[in-house]
């Protein structure tokens, strides 16, 4: 097989940045955490169907649900932005667009995640 590196890359001799594992591992760790959380959430959602404003707020506001719901949304959004980053890196060729899209995805995840945290805490602690 021919050499896969360009002559310039070979001359620079830098090799990999050795940061690849972190992203891969975070994706798997969040996946494992989401398995029980998602099962719990799906069952809860089905049980909640037809519940009105008051009933939904009472459910979200109980301490047990608050903790699990915060974990589900927080870890879920983290897992989502890690996955979307891989999709963007796979399909967007231009370096500029690639970077811009990844940054936008991370910002949106942070914005909606924090807003959801504030909303859940507000329901739980009153306000």
């Amino acid at each position: 097989m021919s050499d896969l590196r360009s002559p310039l890359a070979r001359a620079r001799g830098l090799g990999s940045a050795k940061h690849g594992l972190q992203h891969w591992w975070a994706q798997r760790l969040t996946a494992v955490a989401l398995v029980p959380l998602v099962v719990w959430f799906a069952v809860s959602l089905v049980m909640l169907s037809g519940a009105d404003y008051g009933a939904v707020r009472a459910w979200i506001g109980s301490p047990f649900v608050m903790v699990l719901l915060l974990l589900t949304i927080g870890i879920g959004l983290h897992h989502a932005q890690l996955g979307l980053q891989v999709v963007i890196e796979d399909y967007i060729r231009s370096d500029g667009w690639k970077l811009a899209l990844i940054v936008v995805v991370k910002f949106i995840a942070a914005l909606f995640g924090l807003a959801a945290v504030v909303a859940i805490l507000r329901i739980g602690f009153g306000g």
């Binding site: 799906a42 089905v46 169907s49 404003y53 939904v56 719901l69 909303a119």
Partner: protein, 132 residues
């Protein structure tokens, strides 16, 4: 052409269009598609709790959308995406651990994922509607 500018002769992997569609590749694509759908679904989930923290009429507006035809289709797709990505995600975790790579096993686990996610979607849909 100078040596520096010479294009590197990297091997290209054959892409989607040269393959006959098969269960394993279709499920792989569906995993990615449902992952993208669920990213939007996670924002939908965030909007749900934000609406619940707002005034009752805001929540009623959100519930009104969920009850509409479009809302029901979105929620149905959301549920299926969730169950499919969950089941196939577990399949991926087994692969990561080094199990289930034989062709026979890959097909069997693939069919199990399809059947379980369809049953889970149908079951939660029927139970959910009965509770309303």
């Amino acid at each position: 052409m100078s040596a520096v500018n010479r294009p590197v002769n990297r091997p290209l992997s054959p892409h989607l269009q040269v393959y006959r569609p098969q269960l394993t590749s279709m499920l792989s694509i569906l995993h990615r598609a449902t992952g993208i759908a669920l990213s939007v679904g996670a924002l939908y989930l965030a909007i749900w709790v934000i609406c619940a923290a707002a005034q009752p009429r805001v929540y009623e507006w959100f519930q009104g959308f969920n009850g509409s035809i479009v809302g029901r289709i979105v929620l149905g797709g959301w549920l299926f995406s969730l169950f499919y990505h969950l089941c196939n995600g577990i399949r991926h975790l087994f692969w990561d651990a080094g199990y289930g790579f034989e062709l026979k096993d890959a097909y069997r686990s693939g069919w199990i994922v399809v059947i379980v996610s369809l049953i889970a979607t149908a079951l939660s849909w029927v139970v959910g509607l009965r509770l309303i």
